[in-house]
Point group: C2
Chain length 236, copies 2
C-alpha cells in the first residue's frame, strides 16, 4: 500500500495551526480510524487553488480536502476519499459497513447533519472564523460568505439565542440516537459518527465557548460530553 | 409457527373500513413484508380499551397496534411487534438487517419521520380524521387532540400552506435519499421504508387530495410517486 498520501487541509491564516474545516475533518477521521498514514499539507483559503492545482493538476476545481494519491494525482471530496480508502483498505475497520442499506442510511444521516446541524453552527462560528484570518483571507472569506448567504457581513451571524435554539432542536434526534449506544452506529463508530464529529471539531476549533454551551451542555446529561471524549481517540 | 395471530387495528367509526393509524400500518407492513398470516380485528377509538383488555389481559395500557400472539396474550407497540416477528421469522426477509448499526440507523430514520414528517401531516389530516368519526368517537378524538396539542379544535389544523411548506422541507432529505435507490435502504425495503410508508398510508387514507399535493407532487419528478407505487405491494 502506498505511504505517500498527502492530505491538503484548510488552516487559519493567522497562526496556520487550526484545522477547522468540517469537510477536512471527515477525511481525517476516516483516515485516522483506519490508521492510514498521511502527510498533512496545511493551506489557507487563498492558497488552495494554486497549491492544489500545482500538486494535483488532475483536480479541476481545487477544494479541501484533497488527498494526493501519488505525485500529480489528487482525489478531492471527503466522501470520495472515504469510499476510496474503504476500497483500498478493506482489512481495516469499515466506515460504511458491509451492506448498501447501511451505507445509504449513513448518507441519510450525513444529509441530516448537513442540512439541520451545519446551518446554526455556520452562523455561530462566522465571526470567529473571520477573526482567525489575515487581512487578505478575511476579505476572501467575507466576500464569499456574503455571496453564499445572501446577507451582508454584520447580519450573517444572526441571533445567538435563536441559533442555539435551532441547534438544540436539531441535536435532539442525535441525542436520542446516542442513548442506545456509544456511537450513532452502536458499539463501533463509522462514517455517520465522523460526519457529526467533524462538525463538532469545526465548531470547537472556531468557537469553543459556544461549542461547550451549544453541544456539550445542550442536554441535562453527560451523553454529548461522553461522545465527544470518545471521539478524541481519532483526533490527530 | 403459530397461525392464530390477531392484529388489533384502528378504523374510522363511520364506515369501519378505513385503517388509518400510522402505528398500525408499520406493523401491517412488517407482517406483510414477511408474509405472515394474521387476522385483522378492526376497532374504533372507543373500543380499543375494552376489546383489547378483554382479549389480552396482559396489556396494561391498551393501544393499537396490538398483536395477539395467542389467546389472552397480546404484544402492543409497532416496534416491539417488528422486533418480535424479526426474531420469530429469521428465515423471512429482514426488517432491520443483520447489524446493530443498521438497526440503529433505521431507528434514527424513524425518529426523523416521527419528529419532522408527522407533525405537518397530523395537522393536515385533523379535520378529515374528525369527520370520519361518529359522534362519540369524534368527541373523544377532539378532546384528546385538544389536550395533546394544547390548542382548541378550530386551530389544530393550522395554516394549510404553512403545513405544506413544512412537509416539503422535511421531505427533502427523503427525496434525496430515494434518488440513490428504489427504497430508502436501497434495492430492498426494510423498517425505515415501512415507517415512512405508514405515514403515507395515514395521510392518504384521511386526506387523499392533500396527500397527492403534499407528497406525490411535492417535487418535479416521479420519485415519490414511483416509491408510493412500489409500496403498494405490501398494502393489504
Amino acid at each position: 500500500m502506498t505511504v505517500d498520501l498527502k492530505l491538503f487541509e484548510l488552516v487559519d491564516s493567522k497562526t496556520r495551526k487550526v484545522s477547522f474545516s468540517p469537510a477536512v475533518w471527515r477525511a481525517k477521521f476516516a483516515l485516522n480510524y483506519k490508521k492510514i498514514t498521511y502527510e498533512s499539507v496545511p493551506l489557507t483559503f487563498l492558497e488552495i487553488p494554486t497549491v492544489i492545482t500545482a500538486a494535483c493538476p488532475n483536480v479541476i476545481s481545487p477544494t479541501v480536502p484533497t488527498l494526493q494519491l501519488e505525485p500529480g494525482n489528487g482525489l478531492p471530496d471527503s466522501f470520495a476519499i472515504a469510499e476510496y480508502i474503504e476500497e483500498q483498505y478493506p482489512d481495516r475497520p469499515l466506515l460504511f459497513g458491509k451492506n448498501i442499506s447501511e451505507k445509504n442510511l449513513q448518507r441519510f444521516f450525513e444529509s441530516y447533519v448537513q442540512s439541520k446541524i451545519h446551518p446554526p453552527i455556520r452562523r455561530m462560528v462566522y465571526n470567529d472564523m473571520y477573526s482567525m484570518q489575515d487581512e487578505k483571507n478575511a476579505d476572501y472569506f467575507r466576500t464569499s460568505r456574503e455571496k453564499s448567504s445572501g446577507q451582508p457581513h454584520h447580519l450573517i451571524a444572526g441571533d445567538r439565542n435563536q441559533n442555539l435554539r435551532e441547534l438544540k432542536e436539531s441535536l435532539g434526534l442525535v441525542h436520542t440516537a446516542l442513548q442506545s449506544g456509544d456511537w450513532i452506529l452502536g458499539p463501533q463508530p463509522g462514517w455517520a459518527d465522523f460526519v457529526l464529529g467533524a462538525s463538532f471539531m469545526w465548531f470547537n476549533s472556531c468557537s469553543p465557548n459556544d461549542f461547550k454551551e451549544g453541544i456539550l451542555e445542550a442536554f441535562d446529561d453527560q451523553i454529548m460530553l461522553n461522545y465527544w471524549k470518545k471521539m478524541q481517540e481519532y483526533v490527530y
